[in-house]
Amino acid sequence: MQCETVKVVHQDEVQGGYRLLWLDAPGIAPHVRPGQFVHVLVPHMEEALLRRPFSVYKADGPVLQILYKGVGKGTRTMTYLRPGDQLSLIGPLGNGYPGLSTGRYPILVAGGYGMAALYLLARALPVQGVAFFGGQSASDILCVDEFEALGWEVRISTEDGTRGERGIITGVIDAWWTARDADAEPVEAYACGPNGMLHAVARRAMERDWRAWVSVDRNMGCGVGACLTCVLKVRSEEGGWAWKRSCKEGPVFECREICWEMEEAG
């Protein structure tokens, strides 16, 4: 982990408001593991004190890429960044995804920026399985070629039916699961997306004996474990619960750890 002043190399729009930001971050980029994130101090937004967390989409040599969407003040301000602009980055942060357990079959489940957040993992895994990408509309389905180029089978659904099946992605997952050989390897799922999607994956994992790693999206303060903003409830040994910091002990948790029933509200 370090705090580095990095330079914008390039930025452009991918599709539907999603943008790709290339940063020259020689101190941080080489150390990023799949599922980790960086904490960005958005320039020209002095009245906002907090950094914004972004998963690393790609990291090649000194350059890392962030795929993001303008949803609020910070991300909209980021769209103004131009090559040569400087910004401060803390990273790599968080625990990231663990590797594949021996004998398990990997599936990926993603929504929104989650597709980008899973790319480094998809590249690192020794086995290529199925990637399930869900979104509202065709413009929310990202990076498909990239995953296919790595050897993954990508299955898609959109709520408005403009790409892949119509409906939510769990429908596609369930169909795949039903059609699957009963004696195939056990599944290890890796998910990143809206909390509802993560919970849906978690429910299936617990029913079907999958192992499932979900990357949760909680509002963050410091990003390094100091402020206790980003906590979520995990089961503790004595049958109770304890807070864990999603910036430090997360953002990736095995789905059985999370107290979903208590987290629903948050």
């Binding site: 982990m1 004190l49 206790l228």
Partner: protein, 291 residues
Amino acid sequence: MKTPVMVASGTFGYGPEYAELVDLNKLGAIVVKGIALHPTKGNETPRTVEVASGLINAIGLPNPGVDGFVEQYMPFLRQYDVPVIVNIWGKTVEEYVEVARRFDHVDGVHALEVNVSCPNIKEGSALFGTDLDMFRRVVDGVRGATQLTVIPKLAPNVSDIKVFARAAEDAGADGISLINSVPAMAVDVKTRKPRLANVTGGLTGPGIHSVAVRLVWEAAGVVNIPVVGIGGITKAEDALEFLMVGASAVAVGTASFTHPATALEVTDGIAEYLDRHGLSSVGELVGTVLL
């Protein structure tokens, strides 16, 4: 202290969180997150919300308790050559006293900052900071329970800070620190729900700096014990303002979230200022505002 610039309670964890980013040995002191007698879970989420030039938090003082803290964090902290100030709180006067007593002989603990002013505790603790009589009882009790340096931390939301500053001095405090966060609230108008699970929280950051400077100025004017200026420091000039109105030291809070190395940069900036003005020590700046 090597520098009058410390890091404020609750904004720097217990030390390890920032150790990879900031050379802890260069800090004036680390004031750790508030510690109570027993482990505490703190508030539900959301716990923080960003507002214009400020952050409202209602963390609710989660902590591992005295024993948990000493066991989990003191071995780490003892490796460094930096004073450790433990921020303590309790739900009753007795709890404050007991916490103070337990820290009295803990190796590596240099001082206790007595948090009477956290607005996020529901069980009445908030009153310790705004009710003069309860404030006196807490400071008195803690003073009697420890040989350590005792630094009550004052609440900003009082009609007259001078009364509390003097009460702290009279009760034998070795110094005072101020300000803690300013009670605040934000509502999400889309959902009509408060933005914090706890409904209200404490405002911190640059937006409260000028309020803190005024309070430090008032408090420093009526006591002879050292004053620690806290509130909205983001750069050396902010710290210099505190020194000039009478603080002998300062603590950087929320700014560490934005720029982890703020405290170190403030230290450097103060050194440059001394140089540029031909001064040899911070002491020569304290209380020198020209009225």
